[in-house]
Symmetry: C2
Subunit: 353 residues, 2 copies
Amino acid sequence: MDPALRALGEFGLIGLIRRQVAHRSPGTLLGIGDDAALLAVPEGRNLLVTTDMLLEGVHFQRRWGRPRDLGRKALAVNVSDIAAMGGHPLYALLGLAIPPDGFTLEELQALLTGMEEEAATYGVTLVGGDTCGSQSGLVLSVTLVGLAPVGPALLRSGAKPGDGLWVTGMLGGSAAGLAALELGLRPGAEWPADLHRPGWLGTEEEAAIQAAMTAHLTPTPRLRAGQVLVGCATAMIDVSDGVASDVGHLCAESGVAARVVASQLPMHPGARVVARLTGRDAVELALRGGEDYELLFTSATDPKGLLSGAAPDLWVTRIGEVLAGEPTPKLVQADGREEPLAGGFDHLREPAG
Amino acid sequence: MDPALRALGEFGLIGLIRRQVAHRSPGTLLGIGDDAALLAVPEGRNLLVTTDMLLEGVHFQRRWGRPRDLGRKALAVNVSDIAAMGGHPLYALLGLAIPPDGFTLEELQALLTGMEEEAATYGVTLVGGDTCGSQSGLVLSVTLVGLAPVGPALLRSGAKPGDGLWVTGMLGGSAAGLAALELGLRPGAEWPADLHRPGWLGTEEEAAIQAAMTAHLTPTPRLRAGQVLVGCATAMIDVSDGVASDVGHLCAESGVAARVVASQLPMHPGARVVARLTGRDAVELALRGGEDYELLFTSATDPKGLLSGAAPDLWVTRIGEVLAGEPTPKLVQADGREEPLAGGFDHLREPAG
């Protein structure tokens, strides 16, 4: 372990985190420093609670990006879950296992800074956690507590036949960014000397790849969009496993079928470039890549007006529709053929990234 | 990965956990199966939230015990944190990273069964979590949400000079059990053939070692005791790092000094036996071993009557007193010498177990 971290020790580190966590909401009656955090909940509101882990070697490689971005992402993926319920995130807890070597106190502080920045953006206070050494890689486990919207909750289970199937933003960017990182490309860096650069790849294509890496390393949770969709969306989920899986989850929970039209998928420009670069299928990246952290939702009405007021720069696209029938989604290919839409990433089946 | 687990896949596993989690409190409006759990909170009550990680190779070795006990412990250590605030645990979330080999679906189900049993004992419902593959060991990250007691919260910061310093149960058992496991002893098993058995070690001593291993592998959180101490205890903490560290935490948060009397420490019988077996100091195990998950608290009055009604089988011992002065605790040795009481286990400084 880094000598500065070792000298600090577990309790010194907790003290450091406690001092660094300046942002404190009025509901935080007691944050870091006791056996549990003591938190106020407004009267008559229900809670939303979610947890997501990021493991080195499974969800990320440390060499891919800055610790600050990793801190941001660890919080962002949890905010995305609260967004998908139309909720308001409030309190975060961080479980942190620190690797035995190659991770410095400066990197740890940068990670905490990134998490704090993201927390401040979304009105979240870091109220507690757990710190230990790890025998292998860095482990981040974030739990987020928030408030459910007033009135009926926005679940995965409310989709009705006839609803449109919509998605915010663009798809396939994160998977394309991951593929680019695996090729050795890095955010803000020159094209690697040992990687063949095809003649067709110009400045615009390189910018698209950079945007894809950004989408992967620092996804933007669609919190405001999720909140304004309460009352409009009939069901909602965030795109973490990939649209193919996530449409499947919506169908299974709602007891409906759905049809996704491949040609209507809002493709991230980086997905097309990386697909061409690696000989993969861009539609495949968009459907099964995962980690886009966009909102996938169903609605009986057109949500564009609602969203353009709250999140004017955010695209929203109708990618299909909800149907009656067995809860197995279908994909309409470019040539009009209809086929079953099989799931995306499965953490227990795929090799780790 | 175990073929049965791989065949089940991530979503199959989530489905399995969802079916296995039969115990459901009335406040669980929506448990496993959406982006976040949706939970009710009684009006006018504050929340307690805590998180604790258990990493293979750091906090445990899989060969030491049954997966069922590991599931119990993962929940118990979090219940202990809520107990130390005098609270009522309600909802748990489980982050689970499954190792690439040597961990079967049966073992995973046993782990979940243990967690469920412990949850049912303490009125907790498993409402959500996150599942993924791990590249190295098993990782369990549990978050527990509970209710704070009605009225003023029971914190680490309320100790006053003149208060007695008390502890429930016995100390050093967990550290002794850990040392025994490291020697190759196992719960319920014969003495290992390759380990020298000293002549002085009889049936009674062996039973004490067995009890110590039980204390380490399946600690009992003192939930009821913590709850009845609300209004009596002025400050409270659970003994997770070791009494030496934990008295230090109480002193630091309360801005008081304290004196711990070595001869008054309620020694676990296994601590004496293992200390003799390994040439270690039993008082050292009790003070700096950690993981006893007893309650350490301060009180202006004798808490025995209160505790004997609520937890009749639970010992409670006065081990010292709170003093005015610099927040550095002191230890009175058997020979009457007084020395500074230095801290116990530090996860960033010590080699992993």
